[in-house]
């Protein structure tokens, strides 16, 4: 299983703040996960593809080609606006 988290405007586009999906042999990288999530949700795919969107794997910022393992937590982060 993969735990997916969406923050900020991305949660609106995804329609959820959290999504659990079954691990799948065809989803081995974050880029593949993004494309999987974007299937049937063109707006989400567009939003995740925006250049400012960052991705965290188990709460560490990583590159999109990073490999996934069952049990991983993947968070999609739009530009931050705290302070």
């Amino acid at each position: 299983m993969l735990k997916i988290l969406f923050f900020g405007r991305l949660s609106d586009v995804a329609g959820a703040e959290r999504m659990d999906i079954a691990s799948h042999a065809s989803i081995t990288t974050i880029t593949m996960l993004r494309d999987h999530l974007g299937q049937g949700n063109e707006a989400l795919l567009r939003a995740l593809n925006e250049p400012q969107v960052m991705v965290a794997l188990n709460q560490i910022l990583v590159d999109w080609d990073c490999n996934l393992q069952p049990g991983d937590e993947v968070a999609f982060l739009p530009p931050v606006t705290g302070g």
């Binding site: 923050f7 609106d12 400012q52 606006t81 705290g82 302070g83």
Partner: protein, 173 residues
């Protein structure tokens, strides 16, 4: 060195936090910065609408870790005795306190610089997101380019510092 990092729904008491830093000792200077909820919405095209609420979301676990890293960087760059960072989450209203950064140091220059660095990095790196409810509409706040520039100048400053250091080395100072 005493570090306090808190993420909380409840308000904070500036005097209390100041007193705690003062009690640590190593005195000279304490700089405190508090950020408040603005009462107008800096909209892209429409006229400013009165803000009803500001909701702050964050990434539990990761935010604490990132704030810890930012504080560590500040400690590495300036000699400080104490750093306090408090950030509120949840639903806030205009003029509510959002964030507190307080730095205690032997001298004011270091306290001012560290506090400013902490705020600039917090705004551009810590995983918080603001949603504004104004004029009956709700929208997520966009990152401000001014904040990005403000954070970037610390990297340039650090580059200049290390360049100076290597120049000194080369000239045998």
């Amino acid at each position: 060195m005493t570090t306090v990092i808190r993420i909380q729904h409840e308000d904070f008491n500036l005097q209390q936090e100041y007193d705690r830093l003062r009690a640590i000792g190593g005195p000279g200077a304490i700089v405190t910065f508090s950020g408040l909820v603005r009462d107008f919405n800096r909209g892209d095209s429409e006229a400013a609408a009165a803000v009803e609420t500001l909701t702050l979301q964050h990434y539990p676990g990761m935010t604490e870790k990132l704030l810890g890293e930012i504080v560590e960087q500040a400690e590495g760059r300036w000699t400080v005795n104490g750093i306090t960072v408090i950030h509120r989450i949840g639903e806030l209203r205009p003029s509510d306190q959002i964030v507190l950064v307080a730095v205690s140091a032997a001298h004011r220059q270091e306290a001012f610089a560290a506090a400013e660095f902490l705020m600039d990095y917090l705004k551009t790196r810590a995983t918080f997101w603001k949603k504004i409810s104004a004029g009956g509409a709700t929208q997520w706040v966009d990152m401000n380019a001014v904040d990005v520039d403000a954070a970037a100048r610390w990297q340039q400053a650090q580059g200049a510092e290390s360049e100076q250091a290597s120049n000194r080395k080369q000239s045998g100072e």
